[in-house]
């Protein structure tokens, strides 16, 4: 699919449905219309002629990403643009990847053209002079409409478009239907129900827990806060940040989980290691609050529990609404110091917005899609997962994706925030001490770090 009809089609749709909030009606799957006339462009747009010229020049791009098998999507790109060669490198997952990226940027040597950057790290790369290329001039002007509002607000911040969304992680609850049934529990709809259910479950199952609270998983705890309406971070793109982790709302979220841990109702095992996987495989945890990338991941590690799991919404604080949050999700961003800005931006755009490529991500690598088009695609939605007893899990998470709260911002130094979590709030969970005190310690450490680094803390 070439860039031009896409641009035009989206432009036409966006003009027609400008104020529509029913986004799932606005997105339409189906063939592209071939309209021959040249698209009118906003003044900052890079002219199509320049783009065509760049895509027809021999270029080699370096792409750092840890998505497995991404070669398949990149191949679609290089087949379309044979003059562009792409070197895909996995320099590590998560923290090591960012460390390498930062050191490469600092030394000016060896940085890639395109890099995978998760939502929460974007701000850390747009700090000061900024290391990411503003993709607004390179992207189709109506790109915004391809995404749910909350997704767009993650990448379009402080006056620029900093990455093309690739996948997201709306939060849901996976649970063992058989274990809950055995204990006579219904999947809890509110947190109050959840606490009661955890208690009941525990009395009936001395070797097992309803849920685990991981003491080193800042991302998950932040997602819980996000769901409860907490907005602990702001960053104005310049020098001012707000660090408000210890608000009353946040405290109540943290107290909830802390109480479960201190009373022994919830376990406090470190997650994402052998022990934890074995726990999942052996029925130690009856539920798993996790993001949309969780279902497939679970299949790989808990194979022998196939057919016993189901997916549903997270419990709610307010029974009258259905709200969720996000944990994880990546974009592909272009580095400012790339010498091939046009080609790089087209790579980022293509693999994440081209329908075939995006569907591949969703159906083959099981990345939960960011684009509305894929979120509503029948081939994606209608998949029945045997592992989940035939449930259409994608459909469930697509529904959840609509309920993710908007306006969540990130600090430009999340590396520090995440690591410090493990020493403060996470440690409280691990040691079964006062979680609210741990939260305050986390807040204080982050605020201090911000001040030490020269930020104005609001």
């Amino acid at each position: 699919m070439s860039a031009t009809p896409f641009t035009r089609r989206k432009f036409l749709i966006s003009t027609a449905a400008a104020a529509s909030s029913a986004w799932f009606l606005a997105a339409c799957s189906g063939g592209e219309a071939e309209t021959p006339a040249a698209a009118p462009q906003s003044p900052s747009q890079v002219p199509q002629a320049d783009i065509d010229a760049a895509m027809n020049t021999e270029t080699t791009l370096t792409f750092w990403t840890w998505v497995p098998d991404i070669q398949n999507e990149v191949k679609l790109f290089t087949t379309k643009y044979p003059k562009i060669k792409v070197n895909v490198t996995n320099v590590g997952q998560g923290a090591p990847h960012y460390q390498k990226l930062r050191t490469a940027i600092q030394s000016g040597q060896g940085a890639p053209d395109v890099a995978q950057v998760e939502f929460q790290y974007i701000n850390s790369f747009t700090l000061g002079e900024g290391n990411l290329l503003d993709l607004t001039p390179y992207a189709p002007p109506a790109l915004k409409d391809s995404y749910p509002e909350w997704v767009w607000s993650q990448v379009n911040t402080n006056g620029g478009l900093w990455g093309i969304p690739q996948d997201t992680g709306p939060m849901g609850l996976l649970y063992r239907e058989d274990l809950l049934q055995q204990a006579g529990i219904e999947p809890p709809k509110t947190y109050e129900d959840f606490a009661a259910a955890a208690q009941t479950y525990r009395t009936k199952n001395p070797d097992s827990y309803l849920v685990n609270v991981a003491p080193s998983q800042a991302g998950q705890m932040i997602a819980y806060m996000w769901q409860a309406g907490v907005r602990p971070f702001t960053f104005d793109g310049q020098q001012t940040v707000k660090v408000d982790l210890a608000s009353e709302q946040a405290k109540s979220v943290v107290k909830f989980w802390g109480d479960l841990v201190t009373s022994g109702t919830a376990s406090n095992d470190t997650d994402f290691n052998d022990s934890w996987y074995q726990g999942l495989a052996n029925g130690k945890y009856a539920t798993l609050p996790i993001a949309a990338w969780g279902p497939v991941f679970l299949q790989g590690t808990a194979g022998k529990t196939s057919g016993k799991w189901r997916a549903t919404d997270l419990p709610q604080w307010d029974p009258s609404t259905l709200v969720s949050s996000n944990w994880g999700g990546s974009t592909d961003a272009v580095l400012k110091l790339s010498k091939n800005q046009i080609a790089a931006s087209q790579l980022a755009l293509f693999i994440n917005t081209d329908k075939e490529s995006a569907l591949k991500f969703a159906n083959e690598q099981f990345l939960f899609p960011a684009m509305k088009e894929i979120l509503t695609d029948p081939s994606f939605l209608n998949q029945e997962f045997k592992f989940y007893g035939g449930q259409k899990v994608n459909e469930k998470f697509a529904q959840i994706s609509e309920t993710v709260g908007t306006d969540f911002q990130w600090l430009p130094f999340m590396d520090f925030v995440y690591t410090n979590f493990t020493e403060t709030l996470g440690k409280a969970f691990a040691d079964k001490t006062d979680a609210v005190a741990g939260l305050q310690a986390w807040q204080d450490a982050c605020a201090k770090y911000a001040k030490d680094q020269g930020f104005t803390v609001a």
Binding site: W66, N90, V91, G110, A291, T301, G328
Partner: protein, 318 residues
């Protein structure tokens, strides 16, 4: 460390300095000593106790072997120290073909880094050690002290600056980024200095000079042969250190095709542990680990025979 040990005995060669010499007394002396030694009773208590200790050292490796024969699912559901379904062949196949056989690439890299660094470091240390030992040239004390002091420098002080300097020179993410830093072994120079002081008798050097042989030729033709056992020691320890090095390649390298086995395995391990599109790679990591340690273990076995061959310390009577 250089104070002479008074009177009580005259230890052979450089063992007085107490460092790992790959030299044993020559065969004749050895045999004589054996014959003169009275038969000692075998203590079964000691033997059994030692075998228990040996068990402690070997049992994690045993676990590794057992775990390598299991599939991913079995790993999590069967008893750790005994076998389940035998899956070793498939595991090995997966390791060797996963990600287009990058494991083999990593193994080749490990070999290249380790061998080149070991040979290079050994040679440089031998030359420098000999130079320090046999020549009291101006500045030798100062330079040697600096070398000794360097042994105590924590690596953490050096890696980031080294990385930044390498980046300036455009050398990061290259083979040189690993090999060059590994070529400087202050410890090796220290070893060789002590070794050379006794292994190469000054009389030999003088004889060479009298014959009109140039200093460097003396080194290459006479001394080197005598220094060989010491050089092999330095080679062995550098080999192991470079093969097992995790920190340096972690910092310096970005492209997976240049990683050594250590970094590669750690990468797979963290991929297995991570979320979001992650794959369950445990059986691959475990089997890969087993394959990764086999070369060094074999090298140890091979070199052990070399130790036991009872090398002479040259033509000088002790």
């Amino acid at each position: 460390m250089t104070d002479a040990i008074p009177g009580k005995h005259r230890p052979a060669v450089v063992a007085a300095e107490g460092f790992p010499v790959l030299v044993e007394r020559d065969r004749d002396q050895e045999a004589q000593a054996e014959r003169r030694r009275p038969r000692k009773p075998t203590s079964w208590l000691l033997t059994v106790f030692m075998l228990i200790c040996v068990g402690y050292f070997l049992f994690p490796l045993f676990w590794l072997v057992v775990a390598s024969t299991k599939s991913n699912d079995d790993l999590f559901s069967s008893f750790g120290l005994w076998f389940a379904d035998f899956n070793l062949v498939e595991n090995i196949q997966t390791v060797l073909t996963f990600q287009d056989g990058v494991f083999i690439r990593w193994a080749v890299n490990s070999v290249i880094y380790a061998v080149v660094s070991a040979v290079g470091a050994s040679f440089l240390a031998t030359a420098a050690g000999y130079g320090f030992a046999k020549y009291q040239f101006p500045g030798s004390v100062a330079l040697f002290s600096i070398t000794l002091g360097a042994i105590m420098i924590p690596l953490a002080a050096l890696t980031v600056p080294t990385y930044l300097l390498f980046a300036e020179a455009g050398l990061t993410d290259t083979y040189w980024a690993i090999i060059l830093p590994s070529l400087a072994t202050p410890f090796g120079v220290f070893l060789m200095r002590v070794y050379a002081a006794d292994a190469v008798d000054d009389a030999l050097i003088e004889a060479g000079r009298v014959d009109g042989v140039g200093e460097l030729r003396i080194f290459f033709t006479i001394a080197l042969r005598l220094l060989l056992p010491g050089s092999v020691t330095v080679l062995l320890f550098t080999l192991v250190a470079t093969w097992n090095n995790y920190f340096l390649p972690l910092i310096m390298l970005n492209s997976a095709d240049k990683f050594p086995l250590t970094v590669g395995l750690a990468l797979w391990q963290s991929a297995a542990a991570g979320g979001g599109g992650a794959q369950a790679l445990f059986s691959t990591v475990i089997t890969g680990s087993l394959l990764a340690i086999i070369p060094l273990v074999i090298a140890f076995l091979f070199l052990q025979r070399y130790w036991q061959s009872g090398l002479a310390t040259g033509g000088v009577k002790t």
